[in-house]
């Protein structure tokens, strides 16, 4: 079984994340870059299947700037077998349509039985790429899974939406997206980190995938304005001296909030 896991480098959510006010793009230099936590959980789903099934190949796929290589390598240190990195200057600021076109083309070129992704990245939080990629590849999609069962010919799981909880399944090949209800990822150990340096790594450009990133003949999403919200100021802070509940009730009433 060949499992492709989509991973992404994102600004660390523990720090302040900055958008460039001229370009509207993430200011990568302003924050620490990390492997997105949800992508790590997706790797974990693949690895725990591989732990039990010897003939499993786990491949990481990421579309990211050159500088993201070190971040993606963490996934190899966790235990994935190889990585495909799509790098191209023309992808700087790519919208969702172009991103899905590129990832779908890379998946087609690489080949797979199962694609696993996170449900939403922590920076873009769009949550539409899994479905876009599935459509482009003609695959069934099982999104927002909180439990996943992978079998030789089929994948199934529990999907929790805003209005229902359901059991869903599809024969392979298929694409699944998982939520943070799935377990935390394993930590890379020293042996894994050393091994990661020697694992197969492919770098593909848009030309390798036969895609023209500057093609404007299809609609593109453009950011037309951006404004920073002023940060919040702290208000009053009191230490409870036995009457704080009473004081809070007064505060709420004065402000017509109770």
């Amino acid at each position: 079984m060949k499992i492709l896991v989509l991973v992404k480098e994102v600004p660390d959510t523990w720090g302040d994340r900055v958008l460039n006010l001229e370009t509207g793009l993430a200011d990568r230099a302003a924050s620490e870059a990390v492997l997105d936590e949800i992508g790590e959980r997706a790797i974990e789903v693949a690895l725990s299947y591989a732990d039990e099934h010897d003939d499993t190949e786990v491949v990481l796929l990421s579309m990211a700037p050159e500088s993201a290589a070190a971040t993606i390598r963490k996934g190899l240190a966790m235990g994935a077998g190889s990585a495909v990195h799509v790098v191209d200057e023309a992808l700087h600021g790519a919208d969702l349509s172009l991103t899905s076109e590129v990832l779908a083309a890379a998946l087609r070129k690489s080949g797979f039985d199962l694609v696993i992704t996170g449900n939403q990245s922590t920076d873009g939080v769009a949550g539409v790429l899994p479905a876009m990629i599935a459509e482009r590849l003609g695959l069934p999609q099982l999104t927002a899974l909180t439990e996943v069962t992978i079998e030789a010919e089929r994948v199934s799981g529990r999907r929790v939406t805003d209005v229902a909880t359901m059991q869903v399944s599809a024969p392979l090949p298929a694409l699944v997206s998982i939520t943070e209800a799935l377990p935390d990822a394993r930590f890379p150990n020293f042996k894994g980190i050393m091994a990661a340096k020697k694992k197969p790594w492919e770098t593909w450009s848009l030309a390798d995938l036969g895609i023209d990133g500057e093609h404007m003949g299809v609609p593109r999403s453009i950011m037309t304005s951006i404004a920073e919200r002023p940060p919040r100021q702290a208000g009053q802070k009191i230490v409870d001296e036995g009457d704080a509940g009473q004081k809070l009730a007064d505060f709420l009433r004065e402000n017509r909030l109770a």
Binding site: T122, G127, R136, D162, A170, G245, F251
Partner: protein, 319 residues
């Protein structure tokens, strides 16, 4: 043949497993009515309810088998028929899947998680609140209809009820492979509390509550204030409440009039989902908890004495 206005805004209304329109529907039609003529699409049951929400025309398609694909087939047919200026879909899990597939199929760009839609001299514009409300951005499409998903609870506009024209929609099935739905159960929502995403008041509890039993304290406070209940990820992970109540970066974003954080440290990922609230109140025994950096009224102390006293004080005034 029915005719459609030039400024038609096609809105896909989500439905629940028991054949009702989802709670997000009124805001979708409301948003559409601000910028054009709302035409609703309902796949499966529930079409009768769309006129009351302000949809002038309602396209009705039968439900097909499989996940997402039959709905995408229906939206594609509706787009072909009405040639809309925009397509609005709820930013729900189901809605995002439909929007993603539709964008890929029709070659449209997609504006995700819009908090508002308006019109300027160039056309329709989607408004977004990103990085936990730290930035407000606007986006548009270079050409073609605007396809956008709308954040639930973000739009207050409502359209006046109308007598809708119900139009059966012929759908050509694409034959795209779809996942099978083997069983489905509706999510049980507590009807007595307001819905988290759109509530004017929210009371959230964190790991500081210590157990699912103690979490009842948060629920009592919410009920005393007529508020919705929310939680931190640590409280969800500990099993005090389901994930649907998680506020924050990987949960729900809320912008209520009042947000009360009880036993929540205020990690940056939690603040990302609530820092645009009008008034923030925090109760935490740690004077250095980051939640105090954004609180308008912060109390350093034990929640297990403060919340019961607060409940009593609120009750006393009422009585």
């Amino acid at each position: 043949m029915p005719t459609f206005a030039n400024d038609t805004i096609l809105v896909l209304l989500d439905t629940t497993p028991d054949g009702q329109l989802a709670a997000s529907s009124a805001a979708l039609v409301g948003a559409a009515s601000q910028v054009g003529t709302p035409v609703a699409l309902v796949v499966g049951e529930g079409a009768d309810g769309a006129g009351a929400l302000g949809a002038v025309q309602v396209l009705h398609a039968s439900a097909g088998d499989g996940l997402t694909v039959p709905i995408v087939d229906a939206v594609a047919a509706a787009v072909e028929l009405v040639q809309p200026e925009a397509i609005l879909i709820s930013n729900s899990i189901d809605g995002r899947d439909v929007a993603g597939r539709l964008a890929a199929r029709l070659g449209l760009s997609v504006a995700v998680d819009a908090v508002d839609i308006n019109r300027d001299d160039q056309g329709l514009v989607a408004h977004h609140s990103v990085y936990g409300g730290a930035y407000n951005t606007q986006s548009a499409t270079t050409f073609g209809p605007l396809l956008a998903t709308l954040r639930q609870g973000s739009i207050e506009a409502r359209a006046a009820a109308v007598e809708a024209e119900i139009i059966p929609l012929e759908v050509t099935r694409s034959g795209t492979r779809a996942a099978m739905v083997e069983s489905i159960e509706p999510v049980v929502v507590s009807s007595k509390r307001p819905e988290l995403r759109s509530a004017a008041r929210v009371v959230s509890g964190g790991r500081g509550l210590g157990s699912a039993e103690n979490f009842a304290l948060v629920e009592s406070l919410a009920d005393a204030l007529g508020a919705a209940v929310g939680a931190s990820r640590a409280a969800v992970d500990a099993g005090y409440v389901p994930h649907a109540l998680q506020v924050g970066q990987t949960g729900v974003s809320v912008s209520p009039q009042l947000y009360v954080a009880v036993g929540i440290s205020g990690a940056i990922q939690h603040r990302a989902g609530m820092q645009t609230a009008k008034t923030i109140v925090a109760i935490n025994k740690d004077p250095d908890a980051p939640i105090f950096e954004v609180a308008d009224f912060g109390i350093v102390g034990d929640l297990f004495t403060i919340v019961p006293q607060l409940l009593e004080a609120l009750e006393a005034k009422k009585g």
